[in-house]
């Protein structure tokens, strides 16, 4: 934990994505989000070519209805991934909060109170993840696989084999009718409002910068006065609450809930976040990318369903897109390395760490003293 402050000579280092303003326009346009827009337009053209009335408000409504809960869970997960952690318990939390709401309602609680209780359960579950990851320093992938099983198990204890269906009709209709005056489902509107809030917070506030800094260089962030562990803890709690919200909407949409609600959705949510250009190593990601990713997945699903493509092929396409989303940037890097190797001969280019040998500093301290020109 010893820091070597100003004594070290400033070291020039390029960080991908830290300063793009000096690059030529065409390179600045070559962002992941631009690619997503192209994919989205291609999907829309494809869908319209297949059936001319594809682009109407009904399609939009159904896409929103299908994707709403997943999209709401994707927003906090994006922030967690940006800090370099992951939350695989999201779908189990969706199920657990839905079950809590259903059980309390069937025991005569007013529906509003049952919803609040579900949100509290979400916050508590998120706090458990947060304590284990941020306070005890346990690896989040292992912890959240554990809580994935735990939350699903708790849902099983709460509801057992029962399915709760006796929700008031005026509530369940919220799940399937558009918001008055629009053609969007309630979950879509909630997602859009949340996306704007998340976007502003992530890209335009101190808290957002703290999240990105935490992911880019945790040590440097700590030296800069960011309470890294508190940031992570807060995000896990936020994720729990958002998943509970998604669980409430999911329950209202289906007008029923059983313990296995939403099983396996966690992988879809992770896939959407990663396809949205959020780096699994943390420190990089935009809200607009995740929103585009949600729209692409939803549209593609709708197109393929209308074409009566089997769900198996849809799986292959989802997996293929995900693979492409990491191979494309990684492939470019591999080509660059290959060219570097051809230029400098195999020996120099082989050891990836040679560059770091010169001053024995950690990457964090060198980044602090980095001088931008």
């Amino acid at each position: 934990m010893t820091s070597e402050p100003a004594t070290r000579a400033p070291q020039k280092r390029e960080y991908a994505g830290t300063d793009t303003s000096r690059r030529p326009v065409w390179q600045r346009a070559l962002r992941w989000e631009t690619g997503l827009v192209v994919v989205l337009v291609a999907t829309l053209i494809f869908g319209t070519a297949r059936s001319s009335d594809f682009l109407n408000s009904t399609t939009g409504f159904y896409i929103g209805l299908n994707m709403g809960e997943i999209a709401i869970m994707a927003l906090p997960l994006m922030l967690i991934v940006i800090t370099g952690e992951i939350d695989l318990s999201v779908a189990s939390m969706l199920g657990l909060s839905g079950c809590v709401m259903g059980q309390l309602h069937s025991q005569g609680w007013p529906i509003g109170l049952a919803m609040v209780a579900a949100l509290v359960v979400g916050a508590l579950g998120g706090a458990l993840n947060g304590v284990l990851v941020a306070r005890l320093g346990l690896p989040s992938i292992a912890v959240t696989i554990g809580t994935l099983t735990l939350f699903r198990g708790l849902a099983e204890i709460v509801l057992g084999a029962r399915t709760i269906t006796d929700f008031p009709a005026w509530m369940t209709s919220i799940g399937v009718v558009p918001v008055p005056g629009t053609q969007l489902s309630y979950s879509t509107v909630i997602f859009l409002v949340l996306a704007v809030i998340f976007g502003v917070v992530l890209h335009a506030t101190r808290a957002g910068r703290a999240i990105v800094a935490t992911g880019l260089a945790p040590e440097a962030a700590r030296f800069a006065g960011i309470r890294v562990n508190r940031v992570k803890f807060g995000l896990f709690v936020l994720s729990g609450v958002m998943c509970a919200l998604a669980g409430i909407l999911f329950t209202l949409k289906n007008a029923s809930v059983s313990y296995d609600a939403g099983t396996g959705l966690e992988l879809n949510v992770v896939a959407i976040v990663l396809f949205g250009g959020v780096s699994i190593f943390g420190g990089r990601g935009t809200v607009i990318g995740v929103v585009l990713s949600v729209v692409i997945f939803g549209t593609l699903q709708q197109v393929l369903t209308q074409m009566q493509v089997q769900p198996e092929v849809q799986n292959i396409i989802i997996g293929g897109l995900l693979l492409v989303s990491v191979v494309l940037p990684g492939g470019g890097e591999a080509v660059r390395r290959l060219r570097a190797r051809l230029r400098t001969g195999p020996h120099l280019a082989r050891a990836p760490g040679t560059r770091r040998l010169a001053p024995p500093s950690s990457s964090d301290s060198s980044m602090q003293s980095e001088e931008k020109k």
Binding site: G146, E156, I316, L323, V326
Partner: protein
């Protein structure tokens, strides 16, 4: 100087003993669970019940061995569940179309399928330097999709599979199920390789510090590639055995195994960020999780509690592992301190 070295030596030996104690610890917990359950329900200790325990754990244990190789290098393989499903169905399909096919060819086909997918995982991860979590998550979807296309609603049933093949799923030698023997053989072979082969030690070096390993001349990319191929092959083998055990398979075969396997590996003391852990520990972890599940059933605990208890135990295991590694690290640090004082 010699004293310092010997202090360091004993500290390392103590660290080693602690790590070894990890497997002993799992064994003790295993016996405790088994003993307490038997007190509640005497049928739990019958040969039949124990055979079921071993057979049930064998598949996950085998997958855990492959997963350990991958996780030790700081990677993860989430595609194993889908590989099990695809391999099981394709092997079944082969038997259905070629009823006279020798049993051994079924295994060869299963392992081959797994090896090819493992090679794809390994190539994309190692050569393109892409995070394995994303790659294998994508492959999980792709393979499950391909599986669905091949299955196309047709379920393989026991009438499609030769009896000699199904026999492997339930026959025993001296009371020990075939499946457990195969899994045990896999564990012993891989454990020996990981302990004594240079390539095995390289995997630990890569997981401890990839850059240092590369500078020390370890062929990092090739080793990671090999780890994925072995993990895929074992998943393919597990797929063939899945078919033998269940004697039928549809599109859902092996669904969700990936998280079970990671859970078993973590309970078995393999550090999720690489560099430490043994395949024997992973196999014991699989056996422990399966025993706990069966014990809950045998103790007539409501089945609804199973999953929650399994999840809580997993969290405990992770926390315990962290506590243990912190203790080992503190021990090593104080040894270094003693060295400086001299």
């Amino acid at each position: 100087m010699t004293t310092a070295t010997s202090v360091l030596g004993t500290r390392f030996a103590r660290g080693g003993a602690l790590l070894r104690a990890r497997e002993v610890g799992i064994g003790v917990v295993l016996l405790l669970v088994f003993g307490i359950t038997t007190l509640h329900n005497h049928n739990f200790a019958t040969a039949n019940s124990v055979q079921q325990l071993l057979s049930g754990a064998a598949l996950i244990a085998m997958l855990g061995v492959g997963e350990t190789l991958v996780i030790v290098t700081r990677n993860v393989d989430l595609s194993v569940g889908s590989i099990v499903g695809l391999s099981a169905y394709v092997v079944g399909d082969l038997f259905k179309d070629h009823p006279g096919m020798p049993v051994i060819l079924g295994f060869v086909a299963g392992i081959g399928i797994g090896a090819v997918i493992g090679a794809i995982n390994g190539f994309v991860t190692a050569a393109l330097r892409v995070p394995s979590l994303v790659v294998t998550l994508a492959m999980l979807y792709i393979i499950r999709g391909i599986d669905g296309l091949i299955v196309n609603g047709v379920i393989i049933t026991s009438s499609n599979i030769p009896n000699a093949f199904i026999a492997i799923g339930f026959r025993t030698i001296a009371g020990i199920p075939w499946l457990a023997i195969i899994a045990f053989a896999v564990v012993v072979i891989v454990a020996y390789a990981m302990r004594s082969f240079r390539s095995g030690r390289d995997l630990y070096a890569i997981g401890s510090n990839p850059e240092a390993a590369a500078l020390a001349g370890v062929p990092v990319a090739r080793r990671i590639f090999t780890a994925f191929v072995i993990s895929g092959s074992l998943a393919g083998l597990a797929g063939a055995l899945f078919l033998a055990l269940h004697a039928e398979v549809d599109v859902t075969g092996g669904t969700g195994y990936e998280l079970l396997v990671v859970a078993a590996v973590v309970v078995g003391g393999v550090a999720i960020f690489g560099g430490s852990g043994t395949v024997a520990g992973a196999a014991l972890g699989a056996l422990l999780l399966n025993t706990i599940n069966q014990a809950l059933v045998a103790s007539r605990v409501s089945a609804f509690w199973n999953e929650a208890i399994a999840g809580a135990l997993l969290l405990l295991a992770i926390a315990f592992d962290r506590w243990l590694s912190l203790r080992v690290a503190r021990g090593l640090r104080s040894a270094e301190g003693a060295h400086r004082d001299l």
